[in-house]
Symmetry: C2
Subunit: 672 residues, 2 copies
Amino acid sequence: MANNNSATSTAQLRLASLSAQLDTTAPRDPVTEILETSLPPVRLHADALSALLDGQDQTWRKWTFEQLKHPLFEYQYNVPKEELVTRNQERTRHLAKLGFRPTWTEPKDNIDKDKFMQIQDALSYFDNGLSTLNGAHFGLYYGSIRELGSEAVQNKWLPLADTFEVPGCFALTELGHGSNPRGIETEAHWDFKEGCYIINTPNTTAQKYWIGAAAETAYMSVVWAQLYIPHPTDPSHPPSHKGIHAFLVPIRDLTTRSPLPGVTIRNCGSKSGLNGVDNGRLWFDHVKVPRHMCLDKYGGVNEQGVYESFFGDNNDQRFGGQLVNLSEGRVGLSISSDNISKTALTIAVRYGLTRRQFGARQVGELETLIMDYKLHQRRLYPLLAQTYAQHFAARAIARLRDADKTDLKLLKQFHVISSGLKSLHTWHLLDTLQATREACGGQGLKSSNRIGQMKADCDVMATYEGDNQVMLITVAKGCINDYKPTRIPPLANFTSQHFSDSTLLSPKFQLDLFQHHIHASAHRLHAAIDLSRAQAKAQGTPNIGLDKILDTHSALSQEFARAVIEHWILSEFIAQETLSSSSTSGTGSSPLTLMRQLHALWKLDMDQNIIRRRYLDEPVQERIRDLVGGLLHRVHENITPLVDAFGVPDHLLGPIAGDWVQANVAEGSEDI
Amino acid sequence: MANNNSATSTAQLRLASLSAQLDTTAPRDPVTEILETSLPPVRLHADALSALLDGQDQTWRKWTFEQLKHPLFEYQYNVPKEELVTRNQERTRHLAKLGFRPTWTEPKDNIDKDKFMQIQDALSYFDNGLSTLNGAHFGLYYGSIRELGSEAVQNKWLPLADTFEVPGCFALTELGHGSNPRGIETEAHWDFKEGCYIINTPNTTAQKYWIGAAAETAYMSVVWAQLYIPHPTDPSHPPSHKGIHAFLVPIRDLTTRSPLPGVTIRNCGSKSGLNGVDNGRLWFDHVKVPRHMCLDKYGGVNEQGVYESFFGDNNDQRFGGQLVNLSEGRVGLSISSDNISKTALTIAVRYGLTRRQFGARQVGELETLIMDYKLHQRRLYPLLAQTYAQHFAARAIARLRDADKTDLKLLKQFHVISSGLKSLHTWHLLDTLQATREACGGQGLKSSNRIGQMKADCDVMATYEGDNQVMLITVAKGCINDYKPTRIPPLANFTSQHFSDSTLLSPKFQLDLFQHHIHASAHRLHAAIDLSRAQAKAQGTPNIGLDKILDTHSALSQEFARAVIEHWILSEFIAQETLSSSSTSGTGSSPLTLMRQLHALWKLDMDQNIIRRRYLDEPVQERIRDLVGGLLHRVHENITPLVDAFGVPDHLLGPIAGDWVQANVAEGSEDI
Ligand SMILES: Cc1cc2nc3c(=O)[nH]c(=O)nc-3n(C[C@H](O)[C@H](O)[C@H](O)COP(=O)(O)OP(=O)(O)OC[C@H]3O[C@@H](n4cnc5c(N)ncnc54)[C@H](O)[C@@H]3O)c2cc1C
Ligand SMILES: Cc1cc2nc3c(=O)[nH]c(=O)nc-3n(C[C@H](O)[C@H](O)[C@H](O)COP(=O)(O)OP(=O)(O)OC[C@H]3O[C@@H](n4cnc5c(N)ncnc54)[C@H](O)[C@@H]3O)c2cc1C
């Protein structure tokens, strides 16, 4: 420790307080001393920071924010869901007319990537219902045709999808099959005589369920089904099961909008949020689908009527290959989560800087700003720091997405990390929305102030495109063998060491500790796995699967998975901090350094998984808490530019982020 | 520890796994061993347990649940808030006709307390909007008249309120003044000439805000205002400020329903939940209020035109005395929170016992029940145990409410503990709703399955009747002097002790540790307070207030407040367990014992505040985690009766708690 006398053991605190009563030199609390010695002031310009976050050129971002001032984008509350759905369709069509396309809908070589990234990114601040509808149509539906469809199918259907003239949906999930899509029951039988596929819903649990845009909006659907090929000549022979394939199936008449023959459509009904998306249920009664409408890049019946597949007989790998779009969707969810967190934090912090409560001695005297309460700072600023950290992690995984797709190791890393990030980013969003909602008191519930509404609309993010808990199982399963016992370095020893403040604040120490935490949790998990295997063997059931074992040790599995992803986030943050510090100058510490220090030390101070492991001695642990106190103070000094740098425009923030007294005058403000 | 060899140090786990490969005796994991040696099976009958929870005679409870089958109580979704409000008015009127009155509306000596407790309790399972409307009218409005009004006022207005013929509201909060109602700006000036009070809203921040039932429903309002008495003869003399008083003010014409002259009413607008309650905003423009309409039990202008008060000049104490109703409301919130947690847990557990996902080797094979995953159990069962614990705490605070009101020490304890319980119970509810929502996957969002809707409607519980964070400040402030350094016993030493399983599972050990945690946090907080005081003194600002100091050490303050309340909850639970064990017989452990053990050990294993303090040695801490594993196993064996005992009837549970496949057939289930 920098100065051993500054340890906050209670004995020393008492001593300090006693001696203060004896002489006149002021006793100083550890946080005051830290601010003077270990934490230099921060040099911060919101514009420069904003450029670090979102790039120097933000033309298209700003353009999009301008478009959102169109009356079509006024927020609506207290309207039936049918109206929200219609409005969302209009908004999507309007944007498509303006030239909006998500990145992946552009021809690969002729693309102003940055433009489309900016537009997409900017939209996500606005409304998760609109993002989700766009994601279902442009991401899942359009993306599947583009990734898996033949050229003819693409040439016919993509232009119609481009303009949202013929909206589509993506029908994988069934009533009985969500997290485990491999269990779906919808069937596609190849019919030799007719030369087409026949799609059928065999029972109630096989109905397609939750299909975004299916209830009202979509004319077309990408339908996932188990493919069966009958024996070409012997009808008594059981058909050959080829696993899951995707089919492009018209579900509504293009002129009458009625369901087509053989197709039954129902609404999933009212939801506690996201009612701007019409989720539907679909049944198929022996619907004939022409051969070319199978999205058969990786497998299907060829012109000769013979099934052939890039993956041969490996049904499981084929399905994985077909679903690469879903991983891309997860990256999108991480980015939107962060943007919505930024919006909520901007609202709550701005309100905290204008809202006063308590602290006056008499009626009429100015009360204390709630943002000046340390308790309020502790509630919001660590979330702010984590949002900064995640911002760079989401950008990094997006770069990994765009990297070489033939590198299988990279692909696997992309799949695993994007799954893990999706969990932590969306959970962080839900935590942030709850904390900011409460931080705004009753105002947080008022729809026009957005936070309550965002809570309702974003809750689903923990579930769709992969349930968060299941995603962390994916991470544990996907990574545990990268940390084979033999490859785990001997455990570092952090205890009984006295670290100076500058060490505790340094990227190296923080990253080392996060890394150590991965190794230590991998170590414990391996030991537990070995024990379970040995036990199973002794009991004569040696074929126990890894899934089962990981579940038996679910606390350890989840701890390990989180450790891997938290480390990834911190290391990407540090990489960015290093990059940016070489490009900026001036004295004092940089805002990214401040955010990274708070983010990492807050975890070391508060993360239940980390503190239970006692990697650090108690005095060091106490010193970390004091450092956190100092960092929160520095954040508070700079809080306005720190949230301004997010660049969320005023029209997306709601009245409490601005002049909320004026917004509440009696005249003309009825029922907002 | 019972058996030292069973410690799960990684070295030992490795050894066990290695030796298993060498001989044929099965290695056993610590949880298996714990189940055989330390945790006897549980004897459990849902009915007996239900009687323990809710009493032997549940006639009125069952009666109420029956009433809720009336079509008027069908859940409505996707309807405008105006319709929800009208429906809630109808429901309240209907119940009033059936004879429903909350406990406190009955004449004190002539009351079937148990009857009204049961009815009130049963209602809270149904809908928080209806509870809140009833709470605003019968609790806050009615209660204020009854507690503070003259006999004449009571005789006139209570009968009209009884039947909900003349609904009323309670107008304390203002746009500018929420958590700190002492800062309200609405003014009441005594007018000597006219012999009445004149109520006025001096500016925009003084508008009454969030007033439940004010926007549409209420004819009357209890309006809180700063009372000023002018000098009887000298108009140039500044008026004398008497602090806050309550006035019964008609706000709408009883026949036309229009706002009365001088009263402006606006709607607070759409909210992210609880839209069945019409929250409104009120302005008063020099509205005359007759002398007798001041609710002046503790202070007001007498017939001679002279101000007199039970509390003399102590404005602050007078306000506290007048607000005792709010504390009663907090008890009600704790009870409802627990009931809603029970409902959500029942839904999620029943779904978990019918929902299958993963684990089949081929399409069509039965998958694993999600409730069989240990990960899923870890997510839900500790919340179940805490709900059991809280159930008894809420009952205990209700008994304290009914105790002798002249005992000032008891009254203070009631105020402080009810504030703290309100925070922890409502936060527990929000955690439970989030966890159960996610545990049901997408189905958790479907309005008809209730959880998502309850989330939206209950979010406000963390804010109204006292913001949770502010409530914990109240606890810290109210209790820290009960733990004066001189009165704190020398800290017990738990470290370096090896506890047997039976000790770790015992009520005594668990309560001792919770108690120790209070003392240890009080100790740290006192040291910090002393330091701050000494520092302030040395800096020449010795008058620093306790509020400010507690905020400076906000982490310690909140830790201390939580410790006090958690200990209260555990000790009430243990008291009940002891009582009930003497009245039951049979072998095996009792369900309350199981729930208490899991509740307490889960906190010792997971509570961030406790584990960071390292009260226990690491091997003991690891053993506790293993014991938790064993307890979760025992809970799983008994999970059906454990939730059945809550007695939430099927019609309040939604389709996923029952036959959700049948509820989703294509025919007749459109848009549920
Ligand atoms: C609003 C909305 C829109 C959607 N849009 C679409 C769409 O357009 N197209 C589409 O195809 N699908 C869509 N979905 C479906 C979505 O992808 C699924 O909801 C998601 O995959 C989760 O499946 P589930 O809801 O069936 O939950 P389940 O899989 O039933 O999960 C329930 C619970 O079980 C737990 N669980 C499951 N497996 C395990 C395990 N092995 N171990 C421990 N716990 C486990 C989970 O953690 C979860 O808490 C949408 C869903 C919603 C709610
Ligand atoms: C739906 C609804 C119904 C209601 N019904 C009624 C009603 O019928 N009648 C009525 O009179 N009122 C009613 N209320 C008002 C309710 O009691 C207030 O909302 C509540 O007291 C909180 O006040 P606030 O919303 O102004 O939040 P604020 O007091 O502004 O609090 C905002 C934030 O500041 C924080 N904060 C405040 N003080 C401190 C501090 N000292 N230290 C640290 N942090 C602090 C809080 O923790 C909170 O997070 C209702 C409110 C709602 C939302």
